[in-house]
């Protein structure tokens, strides 16, 4: 049945595109307007490493409707219907992506990507509904762009526009001669999305080993890992998110100041653990231990103070951004947490507690459970900043960015993921060349992790077969010698991908 879904969606899309051929537009006098457009896209990959999880061909329909009833009011709806080849063994019966889940676990699904009303007044515009914000000036790892969470079911290797999750929000823009102000209120946090553990793009850093080697009398401890979904905070004003951004154009410079109070857009996990001790032989004191580790998403309210700018100098566009994160939490490396847990002292504590209960139970409590809350989350204020440079020459363009995260009071005895000694530097680049009257586009995108010396390359060619039909052939290569770096956790996922997109 699974193999029929892409075909069904493809046929449905064709039908839809016929109905809406040339983007159906209806105008009743000058002010009322309805337009419908969209796309139909198919995607397939070939994985170089056959031991990595498979990905079936995917197909997706995007349907965009825009309506305006008057110059003061308009609405937009962007729906995506996806038969996602990455999803394995879907367990969720709902057809719609839900705003309260990290693991959506459904296929096919409908995603309400955007659905909002715009109200335009003299100097103030309002936007109400599911929407996306675009703060900051950098293209990737944007420090001040924290209002929307990300769909990481493709490991963050896909386009930023595809990753951003629309959130139910209220936005107000006030335009004045002095400056422009944007206010955002997100009543309830919408979590990021992750693939399930058996899927191709599950983050390697969340994949725990099946056995913990203790080098103590406990021997090797088998580990059972469970991935719990997020427990959202109560729906009240204290847990809503707010942001303000003030922008101004000053003599060739676009500058902005911003403030955001809300939850982290990136995953943070805790690992409450239940250790089960079973006494197999009371005389020889032979124990058997098993560990049940729950990986649970956690949320902490943080404050982000930001600044960004863009200008052009000669033939270059220069973009910069800075953000200070107050009350930011990081996830410690699992190996470091284990070193604290699996100690002789910890062993003695568990055993003495076990023996006490065993004696109290007069020898009947031969199996006992102990709960441990390892210190996985680490609160550290930090800053993230970056500089980007763009150069356009005719049909070629190149864009380079350097983004660095710095944790001032870093404790090297408690290392966190993706950082080395409190610093993480990523250089991203994108080279584009248009040929054949812009019908052929050659891209070379990539990223270089300076601290880990990891590199990701994503070359691709895009060809417009007709005005509406385009094909993309690309390659994704990740070269890394680490399992726990931002890029290295996906180092086995090298692949060739092909996409065919029909827009209508």
């Amino acid at each position: 049945m699974r193999s029929f879904f892409p075909a069904l969606i493809f046929i449905a899309g064709l039908f839809l595109s016929c109905l809406t051929a040339e983007a159906y537009e209806f105008e009743r006098n000058v002010v009322a307007k309805l337009s419908i457009g969209g796309y139909l896209q198919g995607k397939a990959i070939y994985a170089f490493d056959h031991n990595t999880p498979d990905e079936y061909p995917s197909s997706e329909i995007g349907l965009e409707m825009k309506a305006s009833a008057s110059p003061l009011l308009s609405a937009k709806l962007l729906l995506k219907v996806d038969q996602d080849g990455k999803v394995r063994d879907p367990g969720n019966d709902s057809i719609f992506n839900q705003f309260n889940l990290v693991y959506q676990d459904k296929n096919p699904y409908v995603d309400v990507n955007e659905a909002y009303f715009d109200i335009y007044t003299g100097k103030v515009d309002f936007r109400l509904g599911i929407q996306k914000f675009a703060w900051g000036r950098l293209d990737e790892l944007t420090p001040t762009d924290n209002l929307n969470t990300a769909d990481l079911t493709e490991g963050g290797t896909n386009e930023q526009a595809e990753r951003k999750i629309g959130v139910p929000a209220v936005k107000m823009n006030y335009y004045s001669d002095l400056f422009n102000t944007e206010l955002a209120w997100i009543p309830r946090y919408v979590p990021y999305r992750l693939p399930k553990v058996q899927e191709r793009w599950f983050p390697g850093v969340l994949m725990l080993p099946p056995v913990i080697k203790t080098n103590t009398a406990f021997g090797d401890i088998p580990v059972a890992t469970a991935y719990k979904d997020i427990d959202l905070p109560d729906f009240n004003l204290d847990h809503s998110e707010v942001g303000i951004r003030i922008s101004k154009y000053i003599e060739g410079w676009d500058v902005s100041l911003s403030y955001f109070r809300g939850f982290d857009a990136m995953p943070l996990m805790n690992t409450p653990t239940d250790i089960t001790v079973q006494l197999n032989d009371p005389i020889a004191l032979a124990y058997e231990l098993t560990a049940n580790i729950n990986i649970e998403p956690r949320l902490h309210m943080m404050n982000v103070f930001g600044f960004d700018f863009t200008t052009t100098i000669s033939s270059f566009t220069v973009r910069g951004e800075y953000a200070y994160f107050n009350n930011k939490y990081y996830m410690r490396k699992f190996s470091s947490v284990l070193n604290e847990l699996v100690t002789t002292h910890q062993r003695d504590q568990i055993l003495s507690s076990f023996m006490r209960k065993y004696v109290d139970s007069e020898g009947t409590a031969t199996t006992q459970a102990f709960h441990i809350d390892p210190e996985v989350e680490l609160q550290k204020d930090s800053m993230k900043y970056g500089l980007g440079l763009d150069y356009i020459h005719g049909d070629s363009s190149i864009s380079i960015q350097c983004i660095q995260e710095f944790i001032p009071h870093y404790d090297s005895s408690k290392p966190v993921y993706f950082n080395k000694d409190g610093i993480h530097t990523m250089i991203t680049f994108l080279f584009k060349q248009f040929l054949l009257q812009n019908n052929l586009e050659i891209n070379l995108g990539g990223a270089y992790d300076v601290e880990y010396q990891d590199i990701m390359l994503k070359p691709s060619i895009k060809y417009n077969f007709t005005n509406d039909l385009q094909g993309i052939l690309g390659l994704l290569i990740i070269d890394s010698s680490h399992d726990d770096s931002m890029l290295g956790q996906f180092r086995d996922n090298d692949e060739v991908f092909v996409k065919l997109k029909y827009s209508f």
């Binding site: 983007a23 457009g37 060739g252 005719g394 812009n438 005005n467 827009s503």
Partner: protein, 262 residues
């Protein structure tokens, strides 16, 4: 780049290609007089808006179409603002391009990409580069300093049953073209044909300005064809719904309007 409001291609490109204003009189009217009169007639409006279709034709005859809407407003003699919206093909619909031009300063340009919902200031492209894959360069669409050229009024000639002045323009400093020949209609002073020769003196391309319509008293070519002899490609531009002097407000030429769209 100056004045990248493409619909002005119809109006200005030919004028701009006329540049230098030699004051040598020939048969009554000098090249300067002809050019000045043509420019004055074409470039009267304080603001304008237009919808256009650009068809790019490769040497095999395969066509790609792009639909655009454009708005332009002058702010005195030295400044202007223009905004361009892409209406088709579907995958670029909603993209917009804003330009503020000030002859005393560097042009400022912004590009809005609807997929990212992000507006970015971008650097002005090189003047000799192609505009959006067309056979037109940014130079073709920009204003020129007339003092950089020498002109000669060559003769009068019949083109498509219309009598024309034939003017040769030679740049004092060769940058993009070695020579340009312009045919200007005697009846209405609207250019009908322009031949361009590259920096080596080799014939490069020809622009044709057809279907002249009287729009609010301004004669405006509404069908332009530019054929590049060297690569065999052609760009066809058709203009419709042209409106001059509708009193466009300043806030159209802002980031707010770019993101809000048409």
């Amino acid at each position: 780049m100056k004045c990248p409001f493409i619909w002005k291609v119809a109006v200005i490109m030919a004028i701009c290609c006329i540049f230098a204003l030699p004051r040598q009189a020939l048969a009554g009217m000098s090249a300067y007089d002809i050019v000045k009169k043509s420019e004055g007639l074409l470039d009267q409006a304080k603001d304008s808006k237009v919808e256009m279709t650009m068809t790019l034709v490769n040497k095999k005859g395969e066509k790609r179409e792009r639909g655009l809407s454009a708005f332009m407003k002058k702010e005195g003699e030295k400044k202007s603002k223009s905004i361009l919206f892409f209406n088709s093909p579907a995958d670029v619909k909603g993209t917009s391009f804003l330009v503020w031009t000030d002859e005393k300063k560097q042009d400022r340009q912004w590009l809005y990409m609807p997929a990212l919902q992000r507006t970015r200031q971008i650097s002005a492209s090189g003047k000799g580069e192609s505009f959006m894959g067309t056979e037109l360069t940014f130079f073709d669409m920009g204003s020129k300093d007339v003092n950089d050229y020498n002109f000669t009024l060559l003769k009068e000639e019949n083109v498509n049953s219309e009598m024309c002045y034939v003017i040769k323009a030679i740049p004092k400093k060769v940058e993009f073209y070695n020579e340009i020949i312009i045919w200007i209609r005697k009846t209405n002073y609207i250019p009908i044909k322009v031949d361009f020769y590259d920096t080596k003196g080799k014939y490069l391309k020809q622009g044709l300005f057809m279907n002249v319509k009287n729009v609010q008293g301004i004669n405006t070519p509404t069908h332009i064809e530019v054929y590049n002899e060297q690569n065999g490609r052609k760009t066809i531009i058709d203009l419709k719904n042209i409106t001059y002097d509708s009193g466009l407000k300043d806030d159209i030429f802002t980031e707010r309007f770019m993101t809000r769209g048409m």
